[in-house]
Amino acid sequence: MPTTSTQSPSSTDRIVKHVELEAPRSRVWRALTDYRQFNQWFGVALTTPFAPGAAVSGNMSSPKYSHLTLTIWIETMEPERFFSFRWHPYAIEEGVDYSAEPTTLVTFTLEDAGAGTQLTIVESGFDAIPESRRAKAFSMNERGWAGQAENIRKFLSA
């Protein structure tokens, strides 16, 4: 099983995840940057290949959110080492235009760890997301996330 950890809970600007994966960097790189594989684990149906500078869109795969379109803006692709994109986090409210809001930056750093790979995922920039949206998103959480968690459980046990 992979081990994940988070930074100190006082950090409000970023999420940090470390995970040890039992696969070489070349394999992890393909899972991260081949859009068809990315779709599988990320839970989205992006429709075009990733390339630096590209905007890639697709609908969410979760049945509850399949009407929502997700767009990611690819920034950096350093093969087998570093991959990053920007997006609007948690942009799941219907009819809301998030385009004027700042984006968060998601980075993936790959390092050798024995025969496998140490992957570090960082999403940063949350402090720039409007506080009002956080509060709103949080109150939405309480209503919506129980259902979403159920969908994910179903997906994983299928």
Partner: protein, 93 residues
């Protein structure tokens, strides 16, 4: 409205004024904020006073933690995908 409330207690009238809202419309909007647990209203005489309930905002950090759990789920799926190399799609689509 929340921005104004962040500066301190306000009456419904004071909250409505800058938005050119009727008292009824403002009251309705405030009720939504009350339901979301963001605002508390107290009635003294005929005046309704509103104040921000700081607890949900303190839990903004909890929002990030809840969001973070989405990543945990994705990471689990990624690990699962990598444990089954045979499900890698062929390079030629």
């Amino acid at each position: 409205m929340l921005e104004r409330l962040a500066r301190g207690e306000q009456t419904v009238g004071e909250l409505a004024a800058p938005h050119r809202m009727s008292l009824a419309a403002a009251s309705k909007h405030i009720r939504t904020l009350e339901k979301a647990g963001l605002v508390r209203r107290t009635v003294r005489g005929r005046i309704h006073y509103c104040r921000i309930d700081p607890r949900p905002l303190e839990r903004a950090d909890d929002w990030l933690r809840a969001y973070e759990r989405l990543w945990d789920t994705r990471i689990e799926r990624l690990a699962k995908l990598l444990r089954h190399p045979d499900n890698e799609p062929s390079p030629s689509e």
